[in-house]
């Protein structure tokens, strides 16, 4: 394997952030028209729109960094499962509203601390994107932290569903804090964020909200990982098949 250049690393780094936003946004958008009540339907879509806007900025920048003329749609619609680099948690089916809430809350806390740090990036474009994104993250965190408390300290049924969701999501949590060569190179260059620091803050924030919600955060029995290497769960293939099908059937056209 050829040596990792800083340009490669920046491309991969940006692409990963974009993939996470796209795939999580996709899962959230599946609620559109099917939310637990009309107001929340509208609220969920606001978050999905934020994530979609975020992935578009990041894909465009990734394409620019790569320098091969790929645009946002080339990157979103013309890569296969093995080339997608999102965390496994993001691609899991939307489940019930408890699972959606927990997954979203975990991602919100990660995003909040990650993008807050990324505002200090020496890469001006990433820093500018982060400054915009972090405002959305604060709102998403606020919205979903409230839901965690409501459902976690609501009825017997909601408490049960939340505990099930937490158990179901737990094996995907630690993948979000793994550091590899790309991360290290970006951290060393003052561009990226140290995920060990994000992890400490993530745990503190989650535990604080869980305490109010009277919920427990279990240590996972084992960890699943591999999203960043393109080693996904079986869920992603179906998601991409649905998402990409029009583009793949009729390539190279304007829509």
């Amino acid at each position: 394997m050829s040596e990792l250049t800083q340009q490669d690393a920046l491309f991969t780094y940006t692409l990963r952030l974009a993939d996470n936003a796209l795939i999580l946004g996709h899962r959230l958008s599946e609620w559109c028209g099917h939310g637990p009540f009309l107001e929340e339907d509208i609220g969920v879509i606001n978050t999905a729109l934020d994530l979609l806007g975020r992935c578009r900025m990041l894909y465009s920048y990734a394409g620019e960094v790569e320098g091969k003329g790929r645009d946002e749609d080339d990157l979103a619609y013309h890569r296969d499962e093995r080339e997608f680099t999102n965390y496994l948690l993001m691609e899991q089916p939307k489940g019930d509203f408890a699972y959606t809430t927990i997954r979203q809350f975990y991602a919100d806390v990660w995003n909040l601390h990650f993008y807050t740090e990324l505002c200090n990036s020496k890469d001006e474009t990433l820093a500018a994107i982060a400054k915009k994104v972090v405002k959305e993250c604060r709102y998403h965190f606020r919205h979903n932290a409230e839901w965690v408390k409501r459902l976690g300290d609501g009825t017997e049924e909601s408490i049960q569903r939340m505990n099930d969701a937490i158990a179901e999501a737990s094996r995907f949590v630690n993948e979000m804090f793994e550091m590899d060569d790309v991360d290290q190179m970006m951290v060393d260059a003052g561009i990226g964020v140290d995920l060990n620091e994000v992890k400490a803050k993530w745990i503190a924030s989650v535990d604080e909200v869980f305490a109010e919600a009277t919920l427990q955060r279990p240590e996972p029995e084992y960890d699943r990982s591999g999203g960043r290497l393109g080693l996904h769960t079986e869920q992603l293939g179906f998601l991409l098949a649905e998402m990409q099908y029009v583009q793949r059937c009729h390539p190279g056209l304007q829509w």
């Binding site: 107001e39 509208i42 609220g43 606001n46 409230e146």
Partner: protein
């Protein structure tokens, strides 16, 4: 299964600094924080505001159409409260 519905809240949005909060509709929400968030999600999707008030609908006290005469008509004959009631010569300035 008993169907559950959330209470009604009235929403007031200030479109920009210096303006009044204006009533713009309602949302259903379980609590005040949620009502505030939904008011934001529903009524400010196109940057229509920079400040929101919500109040649970049952707490609003309103005058009734039957109050019309007793409440508002007594004010109609107090024309001397309006500047136009007074004749001031045209050559008097800054009045």
């Amino acid at each position: 299964m008993v169907d559950q519905y959330l209470p009604l809240w009235e929403v007031f949005v200030r479109s920009k600094r210096g303006m009044d909060h204006k009533h713009c509709g309602s949302v259903h929400a379980a609590d005040a924080e949620q009502a505030l968030q939904y008011a934001r999600d529903v009524y400010t999707r196109r940057s229509e505001g920079n400040s929101i008030w919500v109040v649970e609908a049952k707490h609003i006290v309103a005058s009734q159409p039957d109050d019309q005469e007793a409440f508002f008509e007594p004010a109609d004959d107090k024309v001397y409260r309006h500047a136009t009631f007074y004749d001031v010569p045209a050559d008097v300035k800054h009045m």
